[in-house]
């Protein structure tokens, strides 16, 4: 086969192609066409490659004449294919006709310096660089009549790093060009063609009355189907009541939409495309597609009114363009993920002799996020042997902050103005130790800190497990995908707990920047409201499509979360006590068991998720982190796993989350002391992944099982019957090593002792500077008002976005699938009154009777400014109290700690690292105090340590936005009888009490943060007289009172204090109350204090004396009888204020 090369300039790519000739069998490169006389290329080629005929045919005005001249040469040389190597001319019909092939493509190959369809045309490197894309790359495509629009043959990407200039950026591209173009030449040599072997068709499905048209690009093998044949698909793929089917729609079709503008949005090639997967499933039911291979790609055509803004999309995962009707006749062909054949290539990193700086630089360049001491340790370990890329990636992943929690394991020297001490591991000292102490006295915390989730035994027949995770960075980049993978990821944690637990409830706590932010945001940041919308949709799809009720959560707002939102996702699971004759909490893998990967295939998505959680977010963060989950795939995996579990088909299970197979196999092999992996067996979404990418890829929806060899046949055939992929990818051994093979070549051989025990301990300093004032990243802080009336204050507080009603958002989550949610987010005939936590009836989950599992959360980052230690206690108390008010037994409550911190490690852009680390120490120490006083163990937890954004405003001013130190405490407790669960809402006729200390009356000083945000008031900076034991005793009494039926309703006091809680208590029944504040000196402090340990309860008149007697040793304040006036009447020394509950409700609901 004879091939010509076309060039204009220096033709480096042409030379690379000619160099390839000795490796080719079928192809003969015979002709070089150059269109410019000043090109130095002909001379070089004549010298270096004397067998090539060089023809210089200078361009001329008449394109046809010029091309005819070229065609004559092509004919003379019997040329069949052409490679363009920097040929700076758009090809005309004369040349195109000569090379005409199938599907409107031509036997002409071009190389383009961008990831098409992005940046077609000239100067692509420069334009991509200026657009600040985190990733760019090189595309090889066939030429068609458009500019860079032909079918893609191959594509390869590179990451932009912080230090890149345009030169270094473009150089990375060049290196890829020189590698990929010869590869494609070899491919043509081997396969004889690069033509797409598949037929393509565009299918559009318009629905009556809707402004969005569903699009599918379809690619199929076999004989081409004509329009009439394809039209017979209509009954299969459209709803014939109100949908139509357009096959390769024409401009006339589009005109039927009567839309002046049309915007096309579709996924970038390679992004998880759930609609397309389902569409392919559907087509297989039609006889037309019998025996054909089909792939699809989905998109939408959005009708836009004149002048309307374009529909929103995310450029990291979508390609979007507006089109006129003419162009719509020929929609993009570059939609299918490209097959990229990469030969096995293992990189070796010689570390011996490298300086500390060189090691750090290498780590930074490779996104390993390993520091100099860690790199040095690896250098020492390997000595003269240069570790492979696979080994380095496995070490980087295993030793990442995300997986190893290095800061919590560090030795820390702490000091503040009054004390000085050393902590040898925050985790061991403050988290593990109090819980171990607890386990000596109580036996219900049956598995803590060693599995994917903590397991507790509250019920007679089943056990519960719970896990909470964060997915902050991914949610900042792609809010929808980030939150979706967050929720699906924590579901898998539960599925991978013990021998596999069934998820029965989801929770989510979300913190965003101000939803109405009007200040300019630094470059590269999405608006908080956009993030809220995307995250919300992700949580909705994640929970709803998996059939797991979202029963509890919170949405809070503060400007400190504008850089990185905090997205906490939690899941509760249920385990039978035994499965297939084994304790369900056990894991039993043994050497010889096969390693089976279950679920989705592996792609390049989610590379470096684990290590990048150890990096601060900035505008150069690689978008390989972005990925979308596939809830349907995971639901199938979940159903299959639970079925296989009950049949006893596997001995152990864990999930694939951060770090992918590297993490799951690495962890599981600890128990058997070894594993062997055959990477080439791992099913891939598309070829071309390097071995290390296969091993650390974080592609979603995968579980790893250990399967005894005598069960493997049963397991794989069950998987097949359920439509789930299950593949043997290795075996557990006792070799002491993690041996990683690819096509029989050992590409990684890592000592498990070194992998799991070689990481040196960090040594850190912590110094607390005392309470701090709030700072802002904005030009000026919020202007605060003078406090006048309580009415104005209350009206302001109920419109604080954190306090305001979230009903519109929360109702889009399914909170009662599985038919077990006894306390739901909202209550009442009017539906909108909020509850304090979620409660699940365990009778639906295999337990006898009516007992329940309750979940709640507590979070209050604002208080970290005073003292993060106090913040921790307040958060934990709030979580616990939210359970207490439902009637949960305080002796059966487990806590889960999730830390999201600003970077506490020293660095040039982090001057107050020691203070932030000290805040962490104080938080952990306080948490330990509370655990001991309350008798509630920590059973699971996680930390996220780099919640900072460093970037620039449009005027190049540098800005750093760090989150406030934030601890989320999730509490899960035992409820004896869901039929008696207390709700937050009080009925008229009952008497309202404030239970717990009413500090306003004693101290007359304000304590809180919400009022302070809007009004000129100053809070106390500490709560020195808060006695945890006293509060705990109150909760015990409270439980006795609820068990004796003395309490009708209860609601906790949190943000906004008493009056906000009262308002929420009264909404449901539009009740009213008159409160006498005339004896308070600072009645506003009484009204808005945010002290812990307090709740508003209602008591039936007949129970008053019993109630007061029960609480005789606790502070209880009678507030008054609930009337039907729907007014809060506040009697003050200065006169009486009347606040309408309805008016408040309107304000409260009008914010979000």
């Amino acid at each position: 086969m004879k091939v010509a090369v076309f060039a204009s300039g220096t033709g480096t790519n042409a030379l690379k192609l000619f160099e390839e000739q000795p490796k080719l069998s079928r192809i003969k490169l015979t002709l070089l066409i150059v269109d410019r006389e000043d090109s130095p290329l002909p001379e070089t080629v004549r010298k270096q490659f004397p067998n090539i005929t060089v023809k210089v045919i200078p361009g001329q005005k008449d394109k046809t004449a010029h091309e005819s001249q070229i065609v004559a040469e092509l004919k003379a040389h019997q040329i069949e294919w052409a490679f363009l190597a920097g040929y700076m001319r758009i090809l005309g019909p004369t040349l195109l006709n000569y090379f005409a092939g199938q599907n409107g493509s031509h036997r002409i190959v071009n190389i383009h310096p961008s990831l098409l369809p992005a940046f077609p045309g000239k100067d692509s490197y420069a334009r991509a660089f200026e657009a600040n894309v985190p990733y760019s790359g090189v595309t090889v495509h066939l030429v068609d009549s458009g500019v860079d629009t032909g079918p893609i043959v191959a594509q390869r990407s590179f990451a932009r790093t912080k230090t890149d200039t345009l030169d270094t950026f473009a150089h990375k591209g060049k290196l890829i060009e020189w590698e990929i173009y010869p590869e494609i030449l070899r491919k043509l040599d081997q396969e004889g063609t690069l033509m797409p072997t598949q037929n393509q068709v565009l299918i559009a499905i318009p629905t009556e009355g809707e402004s969005r048209v569903t699009l599918f690009w379809l690619q199929y093998t076999g004989t081409e189907l004509n329009a009439t044949e394809l039209q017979t698909l209509a009954p299969l793929i459209t709803d014939q009541v109100d949908q139509k089917l357009w096959v390769n729609p024409t401009p006339q079709d589009w005109q039927k939409l009567q839309s002046p503008r049309i915007q096309i949005i579709h996924f970038l090639p390679g992004v998880t495309d759930n609609p397309a997967h389902s569409f392919c499933d559907l087509l297989t039911f039609h006889p037309l597609f019998n025996g054909r291979k089909i792939t699809a790609h989905s998109g939408e055509a959005v009708c836009l009114a004149t002048g309307a803004p374009a529909a929103s999309f995310n450029k990291l995962i979508h390609h979007s363009f507006e089109s006129n009707l003419e162009q719509l006749g020929q929609l993009p062909k570059q939609v299918f993920p490209v097959s990229k054949e990469t030969p096995l290539k293992i990189e070796h990193f010689p570390l011996q002799g490298l300086s500390s700086e060189a090691l750090v630089e290498l780590s930074r360049k490779q996104f390993w996020a390993l520091d100099s001491i860690e790199m040095k340790t690896i250098q020492d370990h390997y000595g003269a042997r240069a570790p492979t890329d696979v080994e380095m990636e496995v070490l980087a992943q295993t030793w990442s902050e995300h997986c190893k929690h290095k800061i919590f394991g560090a030795t820390i020297d702490y000091e503040d103005s009054t004390e000085k001490f050393q902590v040898n591991s925050l985790f061991k000292t403050y988290i593990e130790k109090p819980t171990t102490e607890f386990q000596k006295n109580k036996d219900w915390a049956i598995s803590v800190f060693k599995d994917n989730a903590g397991i507790v035994r509250f019920h007679d027949d089943v056990d519960l497990c719970i896990k909470v995770e964060t997915h902050n960075s991914p949610s900042a980049l792609d809010p929808y995908g980030g939150a979706l993978t967050g929720i699906l990821g924590v579901n898998r944690d539960i599925l991978g707990t013990g021998l596999g637990a069934r998820p029965i409830a989801n929770t989510n706590v979300l913190l965003f920047g101000e939803p109405t932010e009007t200040h300019e945001l630094p470059k590269g940041l999405l608006h908080p409201r956009e993030i809220l919308k995307g995250v919300h949709k992700g949580i909705q799809d994640g929970g709803n499509k998996s059939g797991i009720p979202t029963i509890n959560g919170a949405i809070l707002f503060d400007e400190c979360f504008s850089g990185k939102p905090l997205v906490y996702c939690g899941t509760v699971g249920v385990l039978p006590r035994e499965v297939a004759g084994r304790p369900s909490a056990s894991k039993n893998q043994e050497p010889g068991d096969l390693i089976v990967m279950v679920g989705g295939a592996v792609g390049a998505d989610g590379l470096h998720g684990a290590t990048s959680s150890s990096l601060a977010l900035d505008s150069t963060t690689p978008s390989g982190m972005v990925q979308i989950g596939a809830p349907l795939t995971q639901k199938r995996v979940m159903d299959f796993v639970l079925e296989a579990r009950d049949l006893g088909l596997y001995s152990s299970i864990t999930d694939n989350g951060a770090g992918g197979l590297s993490s799951s196999i690495g962890e599981m092999s600890e128990k058997t002391n070894g594993a062997k992996v055959w990477l080439e067996k791992v099913p891939l979404k598309y070829p071309g992944l390097k071995p290390w990418q296969i091993f650390v890829s974080e592609s979603q929806e995968r579980m790893t099982l250990a399967v005894p060899s005598n069960q493997i046949e049963k397991l794989t055939s069950l998987a097949q019957a359920r439509g789930v992929d299950a593949t043997v990818v290795g075996e557990f051994t006792a070799s002491g090593k993690l041996e990683i093979l690819y096509q029989d070549q050992l590409v990684g051989n890592i000592s498990l002792a070194f992998l799991h025990g070689g990481l040196p301990k960090m040594k850190l300093k912590a110094k607390w500077n005392g309470p701090e004032k709030r700072t802002t990243w904005k030009k000026s802080p919020r202007v605060r008002k003078t406090l006048t009336t309580l009415t104005e204050a209350l009206e302001t507080l109920v419109t604080d976005p954190s306090i305001a009603s979230k009903e519109t958002w929360v109702r889009q989550y399914d909170h009662e699938v599985q038919a077990a949610t006894a306390v739901k987010p909202f209550e009442g005939v009017a539906h909108s009154a909020p509850n304090d936590g979620g409660l699940v009836w365990m009778g639906a989950h295999g337990n006898r009777g009516f007992s329940g599992a309750a979940v709640s959360s507590g979070i209050c980052p604002d208080f970290s400014l005073m003292d993060a230690g106090l913040m921790a206690k307040l958060a934990a108390d709030e979580a616990v109290r939210n359970l207490i008010v439902m009637g949960v037994d305080p002796n059966k409550i487990a806590l889960i700690d999730n830390f999201c911190w600003p970077d506490p490690l020293p660095g040039p852009k982090n001057p107050d690292a020691e203070h932030k680390l000290a805040q962490l120490v104080r938080t952990c120490r306080s948490l330990a105090d509370l655990v001991r006083s309350y008798g509630m163990p920590l059973i699971s937890g996680k930390d996220s340590m780099k919640n900072d954004f460093i970037g620039k405003f449009s005027d190049d001013r540098e800005v750093k936005i760090s989150v406030l130190p934030t601890l989320l405490v999730t509490a899960m407790g035992y409820h004896p009888d869901v039929r008696r669960a207390l709700k937050a809402h009080a009925l008229p006729g009952n008497i309202l009490y404030l239970v717990g200390q009413a500090p306003g009356q004693n101290t007359e000083q304000y304590f809180g943060t919400t009022l302070e945000k809007y009004f000129e008031v100053e809070s106390m900076q500490a709560l020195n007289d808060w006695k945890l034991d006293t509060t705990r005793a109150l909760y015990e009494t409270f439980f006795q009172a609820t068990e004796s039926g003395l309490i009708e309703s209860a609601h906790d006091l949190s943000e906004g204090g008493l009056l906000v809680a009262l308002f929420e208590t009264l909404i449901l029944n539009q009740g009213g109350i008159k409160i006498d504040l005339s004896k308070c000196k600072n009645d506003w402090a009484f009204a808005f204090n945010e002290n812990p340990g307090r709740m508003v309860v209602s008591v039936a008149p007949k129970n008053i004396s019993a109630f007061e007697k029960t609480f005789s040793s606790h502070p209880v304040t009678k507030l008054g009888e609930i009337n039907t006036q729907a007014t809060i009447e506040l009697v003050r020394q200065t006169g009486t204020e009347l606040v309408s509950v309805q008016a408040l409700e309107k304000l409260w609901k009008g914010v979000l």
Binding site: N544, L632, A819, A820, V829, A981
Partner: protein
């Protein structure tokens, strides 16, 4: 003696357990069967007297909710389903199961022209809220609602639940046993459910299986238990019903 309830699972269906439970607590035997197993031998249907397609997100709700599962089942069910119904078998589709049934076209006979669909709610959102529905006089001809009248409260949880007739003529042929007592999603005549002409096939958007206990009812007040008792009657009716020949 016939086996009683066949409940289909798999492919993203997710309410199979509570749906089976709702029948079981009334004393029935319910079998949950994966759709792939069912389609291997669809004649198994004839051994049952109640066929149930539960709620969920089959095939991720892509294209049209229920559409893909309906097409997956269509060929295998064809003939067998008519025979099953003719023999007196009852069918219940809840939420996504209703969407599957409507895509199958069973509300006007499986091979007839489609008369209605379930379109996206007029407010465009997935929405979870307890709704009140009125049991209409038309319900009387369906075995599912034997001896029932008044109103029921139960949770609606869907995005594509707006009952939409093909046109005015077909609208008149729809048999609507339940109507929302206030506008909820823009459904034709506030319809919340449909039955076929025999009344044996019931498709319902809100979830009766999630309202059979008083303590699941967020409407505080004394009627929660009474409401649950009424709800259970739907399942009891189905179990005790036998077609008169």
């Amino acid at each position: 003696m016939k086996k009683q309830v066949l409940v289909i699972s798999g492919d993203g269906i997710n309410c199979e357990r509570e749906t089976a439970r709702a029948f079981e607590v009334e004393g029935a035997q319910a079998r949950i069967l994966h759709v792939n197993e069912f389609l291997k031998q669809p004649r198994v249907l004839l051994e049952y007297s109640i066929f149930c397609l539960p709620g969920g997100f089959s095939f991720g709700d892509e294209l049209r909710s229920g559409k893909i599962l309906a097409e997956k089942m269509r060929a295998s069910l064809s003939g067998i389903f008519e025979e099953y119904t003719k023999n007196g078998g009852l069918t219940l589709g809840i939420c996504n199961g209703f969407q599957v049934l409507i895509q199958l076209g069973v509300f006007s006979g499986i091979h007839e022209t489609r008369t209605s669909t379930l379109a996206t709610n007029d407010h465009g959102r997935f929405w979870n809220e307890w709704v009140e529905v009125e049991i209409t006089p038309e319900a009387a001809k369906s075995p599912w609602f034997k001896g029932m009248s008044g109103t029921l409260r139960l949770p609606a949880r869907h995005k594509e639940g707006r009952i939409l007739p093909k046109d005015e003529t077909t609208a008149k042929t729809l048999s609507i046993p339940l109507r929302y007592t206030r506008a909820f999603n823009g459904a034709y005549g506030n319809a919340a459910a449909l039955t076929d002409p025999t009344g044996q096939i019931l498709g319902v958007m809100p979830h009766p299986e999630a309202a059979t206990h008083g303590f699941l009812n967020p409407h505080l007040g004394a009627d929660a238990e009474a409401n649950a008792t009424q709800m259970r009657k739907i399942f009891q009716n189905a179990i005790s019903w036998q077609k008169r020949s």
